[in-house]
């Protein structure tokens, strides 16, 4: 599971280098994300621009990661490719997550 963390001080960007987050790797994804988030700041952005496909197991894993962060920290998503975007839109998960077209600049876009 290739997840590359990039700590930008007030924001942790995790770049998913996997082509797919599906039933075959959902558990590894969750476990690896939990490791990376152990000391994460309040804002975590998951860059999905390299992920071409995500199924309902992958979606569940992303939700699990968000819940793992708890109320004090939040998970945002960036760079959804068309099929991944379709899964988020159909399940209305696009209303649950803040979704950026690309990884935001921490200073300029901090809310």
């Amino acid at each position: 599971m290739d997840l590359q963390p990039d700590n930008r001080g007030d924001m942790l960007v995790v770049r998913a280098m996997e082509p797919r987050i599906d039933a075959a790797v959902a558990i590894q994804f969750k476990d690896r994300m939990r490791d990376l988030l152990a000391a994460a700041p309040a804002r975590v952005v998951l860059d999905l621009s390299q992920v071409q496909f995500l199924d309902s197991s992958g979606l569940g894993a992303v939700v699990a990661v968000m819940k793992h962060l708890g109320p004090g920290r939040r998970l945002e998503l960036a760079g959804l490719t068309p099929t991944v975007q379709k899964v988020f839109r159909l399940t209305r998960m696009d209303s649950v997550f803040t979704i950026h077209p690309e990884v935001p600049d921490g200073l300029r876009d901090a809310v």
Binding site: D22, A23, A24, P71, T83, V87, L90, V96
Partner: protein, 166 residues
Amino acid sequence: MACAMPCDPPGAGRATRIVLASDSMAVREALGRLVQALRLQALPEEDCGTAEIVLAEALNNVVEHAYAASPGEIELTVTLSGGALTCTIRDQGRPMPGALPPGTLPPLAPPDHIPEGGFGWYLIRALSRDLHYRRQDGHNLLSFRVGREQSPPGVGAVSRPETTPD
């Protein structure tokens, strides 16, 4: 284990048949091969994505529920004709308990109770049509269509009053 084997070369209007082992990595490999075949048959990229979502959900249901982690074989047959895909999934796992699940979208609130599952049948139903299941001779048979509606060959934009929504 690489268990996805295309048993039939793809071609216009021809069935692509893939036999795969019941495990999530074999599902992944089978979908990769199938989508590649569909692209070669000029299925639009958006329809390839839609087909991949529906097939991933349906095949992983077989792996997780029909075979429930015991070994088994899944046969996938996909026919592309007139821009529409007809898909059939056949397995020898446990029968579906009753009718197909309704596939309603689970409620997404409150924030700490967002569901992590229960989206599979919702996605299948949202993205496919003519969804049918039957148990026959110890097999589960699930079939559905994905992609644009087939229009009669050689006929342009023809209004069909009998297809008004009910």
